[in-house]
């Protein structure tokens, strides 16, 4: 199911944590979109363009348009290197850039945008960006816009998380065990019941996605009653 995530348009949330980072999966999905011949726009807020492009070959990099909100997002530098209009205008401008043809927009990260924009404003912009205001039949599958949003779960309260969750067609929550990463995928399709699946995977150095089988039960550690549970813990360990 992880392989077919890009078949669905709309907003996809990649929910990661300090222990299980999600930028690798975001880059893997960006690579898959680029290889399908789609336009790929990346709004980079947390890492530099150089760091984001690292690991991609020239074929992928040539299809990737990076909108730099990392260097000077708040116009502190002189002379300013900021994108005009700040984060909100940069986000709205992506809507105009993806008018024709299928497109993928990667937001790295939604957490940064949520810290700097009001939650209702951000949700409205995401709703417009992922073309959810049009009827499902109006947009042919070949012209769907897909928005991938990286979200750091520990940084937000239940209110903003719930609001974004209600907007998303797909939610991928990253976790893992014994060094092996897993994705819990919740998919919502119109007029269908939500589907839920867990997929173990690894990402190769060139950001190709490799699906894995579930680790055997014997290799999974038994829970130690004396060890404090990490569920809900704020620390990454």
């Amino acid at each position: 199911m992880l392989e077919s995530l890009l078949a669905v348009g709309g907003l996809m949330l990649l929910r990661d944590s300090v222990e299980w980072e999600g930028r690798s999966l975001l880059k893997a999905l960006v690579k898959k979109s680029a290889l399908r011949g789609e336009q790929v726009h990346v709004l980079g807020c947390e890492v530099s363009e150089e760091e984001f492009r690292e690991g991609f070959d020239s074929n992928i990099n040539s299809r990737l348009v990076y909108h730099d909100l990392f260097r000077d997002p708040l116009s502190w530098s002189k002379p300013g290197k900021a994108l005009p209009g700040g984060p909100l205008e940069a986000l709205r401008a992506l809507d105009k850039r993806t008018v024709s043809g299928p497109a993928t927009i990667a937001l790295d990260s939604l957490s940064w945008l949520l810290h700097h924009l009001p939650c209702p404003t951000l949700c409205q912009t995401l709703h417009a960006l992922s073309r959810q205001d049009s009827c499902p039949g109006d947009t042919p599958p070949g012209e769907q816009v897909r928005v991938l949003g990286l979200l750091h779960e520990e940084l937000h309260g239940p209110g903003p998380l719930g609001a974004l969750s209600s907007l998303a067609q797909t939610e991928v929550t990253l976790s893992g065990m014994m060094g092996q990463a897993s994705a819990q995928i919740l998919c919502r399709r119109p007029r269908q019941r939500p589907t839920h699946q867990t997929q173990w995977f690894s990402i190769l150095p060139d950001f190709s996605l490799e699906l894995q089988a579930e680790p055997p039960l014997e290799s999974q550690p038994r829970s130690d009653p004396h060890t404090p549970s990490t569920a809900g813990s704020t620390a990454p360990w």
């Binding site: 997002p73 940084l155 309260g157 690894s202 620390a235």
Partner: protein, 355 residues
Amino acid sequence: MAWSWEALWEWNAGKKPAQLRVQGPRPCARLCACAECNRSARFIGCGQRNCACALLPRVPVWWVLPSSLRSIRDSPSSHPGPPCVLELGMFPELNNLLNTTPEGAEQGKLTLLCDAKTDGSFLVHHFLSFYLKANCKVCLVALIQSFSHYNIVGQKLGVSLTAARERGQLVVLEGLKSGVDVFFRPREEPHPLQFLREANAGDLQPLYAFVRDALQPVDSGEAAWRCPVLLVDDLSVLLSLGVGPVAVLDFVHYCRATVCQEWKGNVVCLVHDSGDTEDEESDVLLNGLSHQSHLILRAEGLATGFCKDVHGQLRILWRRPLQPTTHRDRSLTYQYKIQDKSVSFFAKGMSPAVL
């Protein structure tokens, strides 16, 4: 009379020994450092396995270099002893755990130091002396202690912060002192801690401007310092002073963009983990910085309480660069004991006191 140490030193000092007579074959030019040759002071090839004399052609002894004599005289054995901590500075065992040296320090990294139920300031002192030894230009934003405190500890670790500041390698912002100055300056004059005057703490742009001006590379023909480094001790106090967590994250973001990305330097910050106190702002700051960091060092107090021989445990987590399929250990956990001039690390349960 056979060659003796005294005779050789006289020769080295430019004085011809009174009488010189060599017993046996001529000694080789290169003075062998093996124990047997040293003991006999004859250097004619003792035949021991590590004796270099047998490998070299026999040449007149007056070709012996004075430096060879000095090095053998000063070393009681054939191998010099390990340098003491005072000569190295910092904590060598921690360098081993991090697999780094001052000469080979990585650049362009954000290192997060975190402590929970203990005092992690020893990590700040380690990195301060580490980067000074690495010949980096260092900016220390000291919000907790005075300069003299860091200087006293630095001297124990073999670095003089006073000397580093005088030669321009170290720039220090003393928060305790500057925090008072800000109230006696004209309002128009910018100050790094300007937020203290504001009713609404706002952002930390003036503090970022101070860091940028302190570490900006000088445009000269040859770089004086290896790379710029920012150390902040500590960021949690900014929350106590009324700055919001997002504002602190923005400050670190800009420091990362400028110091790490643009100038290929490093940033090291200390934050406190509030633990079970449900401090939402502290959690947002800690987790937000954790997501930005390349390396996280977390010092924790022992769950069982105080122990004379084990002062805490250190967890090390490597987060970036993204290496999805690396087989390298992403995290390590060691216990430690802080001594007067060093910190010793050992595996859990392997403290020398219990073995």
